[in-house]
Amino acid sequence: MELTISRAEILAILPAGILFITGLVQLFSDLGKNGDDTRSEKTHLAMIGGAGLLLALAALFVQGTAASTGSLYAGAMTDDLFGRMGAGVVMMTALFCTLMSGGYLASSANNRAEFYALICFCAGAMALLCQATNLISVFVAIETLSLAVYVLAGYFKENRSASEGAFKYFVLGAFSSGFLLLGMAFIYGTTGGSISFSDIAASNGQGDSLFSIGTLLILIGFSFKIGAVPFHSWVPDVYQASPTLAVGWMAVAVKASSFFALCRFLLFTGGGQELAQILAAISVVSMLLGNLAALNQRSLKRMMAYSGIAHTGYLLIPLVIVVSGEGASAGASIPFYLFAYAATTLAAFGVITAISVGTDRDDVRDLDGLARNRPFLAIGLTIALISLAGIPLTAGFIAKLMILQGAVSSGFLTLALIAIITTLISVYYYLRPVVAMWFREPRSSFDLVPAPWGVIFTVAVCAIATVFIGIFPGWLVDLSRLSVETILG
């Protein structure tokens, strides 16, 4: 037995590898700085991160839209379009978060390289998670990213509520890891010792009750990560208390990578009607609870948390269809939705970051009259909210269109109807910030500091992307379709 690593394997690991190295470089370049330094913007860290992420993105798309390269590292990962898209979402998010970090962290006197490095490590793990094709790599990647996110959530350790949120996240996360692991154990056992997804799919264990339990437990593990009801409890608390940037990161990257992995996993294991019904139930409850609980929130971040739960519910609809075997092509809406959701959410969190810079406030009332003071930010947030509400001309609409189209054409009319009704409810709370920004007069007691350049850049790019995808979504739709088709080879 010889250790051989093929060119494809190197290429496949390259993006993640670049990210890990970038993280290390950032750590080293910040070594030995004294405490006062944490108030400066440290643009060089962002630059290193940006360069690394751009390199990683370049490396990611070296192979373009080429189909799967087959299993690499003895089935531990693959380098297919689906995975690349997932990794792409994650890395772009990481790029924007890195760019925004400097100004935000400096304002809270906590600008240390750890934040950047953790985001890079986390992004690397997520990229691998999107491409992982065996249980062990999925587990380790998930744990890596989770640990990084726990730390990011509690990054402001001087802040009581941030610590509280981080700890809640940690305890619940570890608890859910237990179930995830148990599920993996069951699957491993009932499929004749298979670890890689393709082996699992090829084995004859599917009909076994323990196998179903295993799939369900894995689903529960992922449900926790994506914040589906009833495993959502952490979401609002953590979102509210954590650093805004970390929340943006969680809201987009964690959810996106988990969804990519879950989708890949479910496409291989299937699950049958039983699991589909359970997923549908989770989806319905998530949509309802997320949207209803968001109605009365004052904290923007908390509102976004509940909205995130609701969006998880919407995103589960295509999974229901996939699992029920009505058509794998419905899965195509997941990459698209996540792209759209990433652009939209980043724009929103960019604005929330901008207003919480220096003050750490995120009340809806703090947006009063924003359209007068900062019309640019107001437009950005408005576009984001409109997109989240699924109103045309935005990416969110096309995403919702794809999901509902899938649901309708597979006969899941009830799900589609509930999605529609809850969307309607969501309009109310998405409009509240719009009302505050545009219809109310600025409150004199609240002065905004100028938004850091990274934030401005992020909001601009993401808002434009949201609208652009909303108007010309064709390419992304095609890409998503293609990517889902490549998973199964």
Binding site: P230, W234, I282, L292, A293
Partner: protein, 663 residues
């Protein structure tokens, strides 16, 4: 393609546009010149067209352009038609209209809304002429509604006073109610005739085919189609021509300037209902049941209005009710089939009622807008000319030969007499009786009016004493012209038994000839006409005499009657217009408003907005609040939720699996 027909209505319209837009700038003199000049030119054109009709013997027609026109489906052109009937009407309108325009120069002098007034007046002429000339029912409807609009504007001319506006609005709405029925009638015509052209609606063959059909109406059962159409059109006419039940607006309409009352609310607009009936004579004739209804309503209106006129003290109100009463006469005539007589009365009525109104206007003008007759009296001395002309008008309306009213009224009464006694119709007999009685009452209340105004002792406000004097100029001239017309107008249509040729009736095509009758029958007819005439002369004469007595030497008689029980009752009812307005108010207007208000609060505010809309929102929010409360922030709770979630899902899955296994 006689396009000059278009100029008849168009010229006053130009006047309206010009005065309306620039009137304020160009000064009173120019306004008067334009406003009076254009109708006069219109009159001249009408005259020429009339000559043409007389000479050639065939009506003129202007094809116009398509108006509401969907090829093959609804084809309603904007085209004008000028035949004998229209010609006479046009001449009356432009003629009397021009005179009243001239009169207005004097009457309205110094009013701040001078140009506006003339603009409205011109606009009114336009619409009235359009009404007359319109070649189809819908075009007529433009004029129909248009005159209503002008009436509205002119009644409310002095809009600073709330009451005037209310009166204007009342007029418009009452008219609208009538128009609602009119419109339905138009729909029925269009549905069943396929067109609204007058030529089709008056075509006997077409009418016969339509007349065979019936309609089933809820509550009424099966009703003849033509009857329905005629009744609907007649309801439209009751609005415009102030018949029961829609007459209540006309007395209120006296809020407008007096020349307006003369032109619109006496001479022209209010008679358009009669004109409509005459226009569609063949159609009306095909619906005898409807005609009976019309006769009844006409007679009743005539009586009711006359009764009310007894108790009025406002000089214009008396004239207004007399107008209503005279209009009732006209409809009575139509009801008994005497279209020619009705139309003749329209013409003569236009003369003498315009004269009376203008006369009253002259008095009012002289009295500085005092209209209450109780504060007049003895004006004969100060206003001799007005007095004479007014008296001419009064005698004309009372039916004193050989003044205009005598001829027309006599014809009407004879028509009723003929149908009732010669034709043996019980209803017609009754209606004739009413009308006959009314003729006497007319004479009485008109003399009462003259007496209270011009005769007896002066009751004038001491402040005005000495300031009252005859208005000269245009006002005098107008009165003179109209007095002559009132005196001689009757000779337009002298009946055959008096040696005339009934020329107006023949010219308008409304008078049926007696060609079919034998010599003997004709003789009998003439005899009956003589009888009827004598009867009507008697009743008019007794009315006059009684009035002369009561308001001359026999004051005691009058006082005794007034103080007697029936007298008091009648007096109160009459003075309060038989409480009809109050009745309408409490039965229709106020309940409607109250119900609307209730609906607004109950349905809109409470049910829809409150319970359905806000209720849903509130429910959603509260459920959301509940979900919020579930988020306690307590870690053990979260963990427990998590574990329970796992449990539930596991249980669900195993349950599904078991069921799947069982199958």
């Amino acid at each position: 393609m006689d396009i000059h027909l278009l100029w008849i209505p168009l010229l006053p319209f130009l006047g309206f546009v010009f005065n309306g837009l620039l009137g304020r700038r160009i000064g009173t003199r120019a306004v008067s010149a334009i406003a009076c000049g254009l109708p006069i030119i219109s009159f001249l054109i009408s005259y020429r067209a009339w000559r043409h009709v007389v000479d050639v013997g065939s009506p003129q027609h202007w094809d116009g352009f398509p108006w509401i026109w969907i090829d093959g489906l609804v084809e309603i052109p904007f085209s004008l038609h000028f035949d004998g009937l229209a010609a006479v009407m046009c001449l009356v309108i432009t003629g009397v209209g021009s005179i009243i325009h001239l009169y207005s120069i004097g009457y309205m002098r110094g009013d701040p809304g001078y140009h506006r007034y003339f603009a409205y007046l011109n606009l009114f002429m336009t619409f009235m002429l359009l009404l007359v000339l319109g070649d189809n029912l819908l075009l007529m409807f433009i004029g129909w509604e248009g005159v209503g609009l002008c009436s509205y504007l002119l009644i409310g001319f002095w809009y600073e006073d709330d009451a005037n506006c209310a009166a204007g609005r009342k007029a418009f709405i009452m008219n609208r109610i009538g128009d609602f029925a009119f419109l339905l009638g138009i729909f029925l015509c269009l549905t069943h005739f396929g067109t609204l052209a007058m030529s089709a609606l008056t075509d006997v063959n077409q009418i016969q085919t339509v007349a065979a059909q019936t309609l089933t109406i809820p509550l009424l059962g099966s009703v003849g189609l033509v009857t329905t159409i005629v009744v609907l059109l007649f309801i439209g006419a009751t609005g415009k021509s102030a018949q029961i039940p829609l007459y209540v607006w006309l007395p209120d309409a006296m809020a407008g300037p007096t020349p307006v009352s003369a032109l619109i609310h006496a001479a022209t607009m209010v008679t358009s209902g009669v004109y409509l009936c005459c226009r569609l004579m063949p159609l009306f004739q095909a619906a005898p049941a409807a005609l009976t209804l019309i006769a009844g309503i006409g007679a009743c209106t005539a009586l009711l209005a006359a009764l009310i006129a007894f108790g009025q003290n406002d000089i214009k109100k008396v004239l207004a009710y007399s107008t209503v009463s005279q209009l009732g006469y006209m409809f009575f005539a139509i009801g008994v089939g005497a279209f020619s007589a009705a139309f003749f009365h329209v013409v003569t009525h236009a003369f003498f009622k315009a004269l009376l109104f203008l006369g009253s206007g002259s008095v009012i003008h002289a009295m500085h807008h005092q209209q209450d007759m109780r504060k007049m009296g003895g004006l004969r001395k100060q206003l001799p000319f007005t007095h004479i002309t007014f008296l001419v008008g009064t005698l004309a309306i009372a039916g004193v030969p050989p003044l205009a009213g005598f001829f027309s009224k006599d014809e009407i009464l004879f028509a009723g007499f003929e149908q009732g006694f010669l034709g043996g119709s019980g209803a017609a007999m009754l209606f004739w009786g009413i009308s006959f009685l009314t003729a006497g009452m007319t004479a009485f209340y008109m003399i009462r009016c003259v007496a209270m105004t011009f005769w007896g002792e002066s009751r004038i406000d001491p402040d005005l004493e000495g300031k009252v004097h005859e208005p000269g100029g245009w006002i005098g001239l107008s009165l003179l012209v109209l007095a002559i017309a009132s005196a001689l107008g009757g000779f337009l249509n002298v009946p055959e038994f008096l040696g005339g040729h009934a020329s107006l009736g023949h010219f308008t095509g409304l008078q049926q000839g007696h060609e079919g009758l034998t010599e003997q029958a004709l003789h009998a007819l003439h005899a009956a006409e003589w009888q009827s005439m004598i009867l009507s002369l008697l009743i008019a004469g007794s009315g006059l005499l009684l009035a002369f007595h009561c308001y001359g030497k026999g004051k005691d008689l009058r006082r005794r009657f007034i103080e007697s029980g029936p007298g008091q009752l009648l007096g109160r009812l009459s003075a309060n217009k038989f409480y009809v307005d109050e009745f309408y108010n409490s039965v229709f207007v106020r309940p409607f408003e109250t119900i609307s208000h209730l609906m607004f609060i109950l349905i809109d505010r409470i049910l829809i907005d409150g319970i359905l809309v806000s209720g849903t929102a509130l429910l959603t929010r509260n459920v959301g609040h509940l979900f919020r409360k579930m988020q306690t922030g307590f870690i053990p709770g979260y963990l427990l939720t998590f574990a329970c979630g796992v449990l539930v899902l596991l249980f669900m899955l195993l349950n599904f699996l078991r069921q799947g296994g069982a199958q």
